[in-house]
Structures are given as C-alpha cells and as structure tokens.
Amino acid sequence: MKVTIKLFALLGEYLPAGAADNAAEIEVADGATPADVIRRLALPRESCHLVLINGLYRPPGERDDRPLQPGDVLAIWPPIAGGRD
C-alpha cells in the first residue's frame, strides 16, 4: 500500500530521493506500523519525537502495534519541536 511520509526539520535528511517539500509517497507492506516505517527509513528512534498520523498525535506506546491504512500521512519531527515521551 502507499502512504505519505513527511519528515521535518533535521529529519529531512532521511527522506528518499525525489521527495519535495519535506514529503514523499512511499510503498510499504500492508499492515505496516509507524515503527516499521521508522525502521525502514533508518530514522534514529530517539529522533522520532512528535509523531502524527493524519495530523493526530500518536503516543510512543502506540507506534508499534497500530497498523497504518492506505493513504495515511505519517509526519515526524525530532525533539526540537517539543513532544515529550
């Protein structure tokens, strides 16, 4: 399935080639969780502080088990934008 990944501030470096405006559409396995995407893009886990799915906050404890849906927008900021564990 396809999801949109948005990586902001210094995490922008981890965007795949061809990304624009800090965003890219990527293909992930059905049932992939935010944690799967974070691993796949080799994002340092401690840098993924503020995590939003379709704009809604996803607390750290719920990033491993709740799968993404096709077309979801996963947006991630490092701790510099706040967002406490």
């Binding site: 501030a9 405006d21 800090n22 503020l50 704009g55 706040g82 967002g83 406490r84």
Partner: protein, 615 residues
C-alpha cells in the same frame, strides 16, 4: 537589589524629567515590568480614558532581572491603554534597549501628557532630557535610529522609536528597538505617536547589582545549562526559530487560512522554517542568513534574512537587499496563510516594512486577510482599494498594502484601522477575526481548543503570549493534552496565564519556558532580589497581576460578553484535518475557568479572591 529603585517621570506637557524612588512595597507584590507597571498605570490613570488622549500614560518598564547575566534578561515592556483595543496593553520586546534602560539607572520610565511638538527622550546614566525631534518626524524607525546615533556620535546608544505608522495613528502601530525588535501588539506605537514622542534613546553603563552574587551566578549558570540541554531551546529555536511551528500547526489542522475560512494552508511549506533554510535554485542562497540573539540570550531564536536580489520587491531598492529581521512564525502566518500568499520573499519584504515603519505584522496581515474576504464577497471593490485587486493570494496586493499602511496612505489608511473597525465600516463585523479588537495570532481554536479559551480571556485581546497552551496541546510541554478536547482546559489556561504573567514581570523571555519551569526561574530571582522568591510566590504574583489587569478592563467597560470568539469559530466547523466537523467549545470551558479563577459567573473577581490576592 536587582531593581534600580528609580523611576523616571517624563511630563511631556511641561517638558520635564524627574527622578523618583520606586515604590518597593509594590515591587515586592508585583515584581517588575508587566506587573509593576500595570500597578502604576492602575493607580495613576482612569481606565475609561481615551487611549490617544494626553491623560493616558505610557510606561516603559524593565524587570528585576533585566540587565543581569541571566539568560534572555534583556526584556522590557510597554504598558498603557491600547489604541487598538481600549484594553490594558502590555507589549514585550527583546533586543538590547531594555538592558540599556536598566543600566542607565531606571526600572521604568513613565510618560505623561503630550508634548506640544515632536521630541525624543535622551537618557545617559541617570541624566535625562527631551530633545527636539522636528527633523525626525516623518522618518522611519530605521532612519530614526541611525540619525540619533549619528547626532550624538555614539553607535552604542540604544533607540526605541515609532515610524510613520505610529505618527499617523495606525491602530496597531508598534515601537521598534534595535532595528527589528518590537513592542508589537495592541497599538502601543499609536499611543506614543499621540504624545508627539518620536523616540527614546538610551546609553547606560551603571551596572545592575544583585542580592547574593555567588548564589546568582550558580543559579543563572544552572538555568543556562537547562536551556542548552533542552532540544527545543538548545537546538530547535536556534536552528528554525519559532518558524519550526509552521508545518507542525498546519499538519495538526490548526493553521488559520484565508481569514479563518480554512484550517490548513496548501502553501504552508513554502513559508515555513524548513523553506527558509532551503537553497534557492536561482542563486544558490537561502532566505535565512543567520540566527540572532537578544541581550544575554543563550537561545538565539531571532531570524536574519535576505530577499533574493531579483525579487520584484527589491529590484533597484538596495535598502531592502540587505540582511534584516526575518520572519518569525506569527508574522509568516499573518502575512502568508491569513492572506493566502505563499511567496516567502514577499512575506519577508512585508515583514521588513513592518519593522521599518513600525507596525504589527500579525494585525496587519490578519486585517489584509479580512479585507480580501470583504473584496471577494463584493463588500468593497477596486473603487475603495484604489485599484488593488484584493483577492486572496495576490502577492502584489500584500506588499503594496504593507507600504501604503506604513505611510498611512490610500487604502493603507483603512487597513491601518485594524480588522474590527474596517469590517464594521463595510457592514460585515462578523468577518473580523478578533477578540476585544485585537486580531488572532497563528493558531485556530477549532484545532487547538484550549487556545479558544486563552484568546477569549486574554486581557489584551486575542494573543498567544498570554497563555500558550499550544505548548501542552500540540508540543507536549510540560505534558501532552488532547488539542481537540475541552475537558481540563480551564485549569490549563489559568496555569499558563499565571506563570506567564510572572515571567513577563521578571525581565526574561517567555521562550525560556519551553525548557524552564518556575522551579528554574525562582532561584535566579531569589538570588538577585531581596526577599523570598519561590515558585509559589511567583505563581501568586502572576495570579495577582492577571486579576489586576482584569479589573482594569472591567473599569474600562469590558464585561463577560467580551470574553468570546467570532461566530465563525463558534458556528462554522473546520472543513479539513483532525478538527474536521469541530467548532470551538468555549461554552464548555468558560464557566469552569471563571470558577477556578474565583470570579462570579459574570467574570468579576469576588471579594474573597481580591482579599486572597491582597488586591
């Protein structure tokens, strides 16, 4: 200690400058700056006064920490009755001017009356006099600062001045110091202009004494370490400034767009902190040149930007091709999303003009957004606008109106009225997005519910700096709360409002509170000042200040009916994003808030509350 214990009283009618002792009894109860100057204003003026009448006073005030080596300790505030709002105004500015004023030996300067002709105040280490400013009248803030420094052959004089906007009575005119720092909101610059006071120029080298030097050095060093170790204040603000918020708030569905018709802006990325860092294809340079710090600040969130030299706004205009004060988040939002403009350099140019001529980019951009909606529904036409096609997204309209407003010319004179007066004039008061006459900043209260309550109850009209619950609701500082819920927001708003009032009375910058709590701040104040200063006493000061401001506004004629939001936010649901289908639930939050404040159901502090706070 820490206080200079001296007030400079400037009688502009008589042209005299007199020193008097600071009321230390009040200082112990109101700390300094915002709190203490409000106490002076309340004691010395009638709250029903016309803001632009000579009977209104204007106070420039520092806090006890201003001028010390505590991080960010260069702040000062301007306290008066606001020209935009008719409510208490307290506009806070950084840069270096506040430090200079304190080091010249003054906690505050009280301006009263009206000078018969334009003047500026010159202060050097306890020696103050008024100087003729006839030649400076009509000059911009930038020129005024340069010319005063040149006239006195002293590049280290610090200047706070009004531009043409303040002279012409633009309702949201600002007082600009150090070229691009401003006491920006509520029209304090219009009050200064009404007094024929062009500028205040200060040189101070007297130093600031603290009560316990060793304890003060230890406490301020500990505070600086907390700021350096925190990701927001140590990395985020220096790298992206407050502009790191643009994409966060847009993704969250709380970015007011096109006069609050939408809550997400398709052009947000183009005007974001990330975009300010991106290299342009044309010349390989970025909009952002460097970051910048106010006096004693170890965060350095300020933006210094330059516009691409071939951009239409600066071609053949070298004075705007130089690096200058760049976009902060609130300005980028107002000049961009609120007007539907996504041209970063055009927004930067409009921001330069706001600094140059001294007016608030938030109220300006929001008023242009309101005018654009008036234009699109046909309430105004090119006849009123002087030929400007005032459609959302028209970048040329934005930059032209910035220049016209700064000079008070053409349709700019009407934009200078602010959105409330403008929309009333053209028969659509419901299109003005404001509280108590002041335009909203950059957070839509349908997507961040607590901010609706913070805006509705803010003593200076719609404002993010009176209770920044965004920190909790979006950024999770000090702990995450749900931005779409109304439960518990009464307590959250009150806690933020009281703590912020204490910080604003101390002489430090509110941005420290991304990392500092009152537990970090109290030891610094305690070491600097005589007496016992704990987190508890600071919270009590904050609550006392909040209630004092509230009573001023009640005296000025405001009631609980003014603690509200525009119909658009209470009736028209958000159309996209997480808040889709939601309006602001103010009615669910306000009664709880009044109760927690110890106010009646009409929003009036009870006798018991007043006694508890020794008011």
């Amino acid at each position: 200690m820490a206080w200079a214990r001296k007030v400079l009283r400037v009688d502009l009618n008589a042209g005299t400058c007199t020193d008097e002792a600071l009321n230390m009894d009040w200082a112990r109860r109101y700390l300094g700056q915002r709190g203490l100057a409000t106490k002076y204003l309340v004691e010395e003026t009638d709250p029903r006064v016309d803001p632009l009448a000579p009977e209104n006073k204007m106070i420039m005030a520092t806090g006890p920490l201003t001028g010390t080596c505590a991080s960010t300790a260069g702040r000062y505030s301007v306290i008066t009755k606001g020209a935009l709002t008719g409510a208490i105004a307290c506009s806070n500015s950084g840069g270096f001017f506040g430090n200079e004023m304190k080091n010249a030996g003054y906690d505050m300067i009280i301006f009263e009356g009206k000078s018969p002709k334009p003047v500026y105040l010159l202060v050097r280490n306890g020696d103050a006099r008024l100087v003729d400013a006839g030649e400076l009248w009509g000059a911009s803030c930038w020129d005024t600062e340069e010319r005063i420094k040149a006239a006195h052959q002293d590049p280290l004089i610090r200047v706070a001045s009004i531009g043409v906007a303040g002279e012409r009575g633009v309702k949201y005119a600002a007082i600009v110091n150090d070229m691009h720092r401003a006491a920006g909101r509520s029209g304090v610059g219009a009050v200064m202009g009404s007094k024929n006071l062009k500028a205040v120029a200060i040189r101070g080298t007297l130093g600031v004494k603290v009560d316990d030097f060793a304890a003060f050095m230890a406490a301020t060093a500990a505070g600086k370490k907390v700021l350096a170790d925190n990701a927001v204040t140590g990395q985020g603000l220096p790298t992206y400034g407050t502009q790191v918020l643009m994409n966060v708030v847009n993704e969250t569905g709380a970015l007011p767009t096109r006069n609050h018709q939408g809550v997400q802006f398709e052009g947000a990325h183009a005007i974001s902190g990330e975009a300010m860092h991106e290299k342009r294809a044309s010349d390989g340079k970025s909009n952002l040149i460097t970051n910048n710090a106010c006096f004693a600040c170890t965060i350095a969130c300020g933006r210094i930007s330059a516009i691409e030299r071939t951009h239409y706004t600066v071609v053949d205009r070298p004075q705007y091709q130089k690096a200058s004060g760049g976009l902060e988040y609130e300005a980028a939002w107002a000049l961009g999303a609120a007007t539907g403009v996504s041209d970063l350099d055009a927004c930067t140019f409009a921001n330069f003009i706001c600094n140059e001529q001294g007016f608030d980019p938030i109220s300006f951009g929001a008023t242009v957004g309101a005018a654009m909606e008036l234009f699109e529904i046909g309430a105004i036409t090119t006849k009123e606008t002087g030929g400007i096609e005032l459609k959302f997204g028209n970048v040329h309209a934005l930059t032209e109106l910035a220049e016209l407003t700064g000079r008070g010319e053409g349709f700019g004179a009407e934009i200078g009225l602010g959105s409330k007066r403008l929309c009333e004039k053209y028969g659509h008061p419901e299109l003005s997005m404001q509280v108590k006459g002041q335009e909203f900043p950059a957070y839509d209260s349908r997507g961040i519910q607590g901010m609706g309550l913070a805006y509705a109850t803010s003593n200076r009209g719609a404002c993010h700096l009176r209770g920044y619950t965004v920190a909790s609701e979006i950024l999770g500082v000090p702990e995450k709360t749900d931005p779409l819920a109304t439960e518990g927001k009464g307590g959250l708003v009150k806690a933020f409002q009281d703590a912020t009032a204490a910080v604003d009375s101390a002489g430090i910058c509110v941005f420290t509170t991304f990392a500092w709590t009152l537990d970090d701040i109290a030891p610094q104040i305690d070491a600097a000042c005589e007496g016992e200063w704990t987190p508890e006493t600071l919270l009590e000061v904050g609550e006392r200040v909040w209630n004092l401001e509230r009573r001023y506004n009640l005296g000025a004629g405001f009631t609980d009916k003014d603690d509200t939001l525009p119909k658009r936010l209470l009736k028209e649901a958000a159309k996209t994003g997480p808040a889709k289908g939601l309006v602001n639930g103010l009615d669910k939050m306000l009664p709880e808030y009044y109760q927690l404040r110890g106010w009646t159901t009409e929003g009036i502090p009870t006798n018991e509350t007043l006694q508890r706070l020794a008011l």
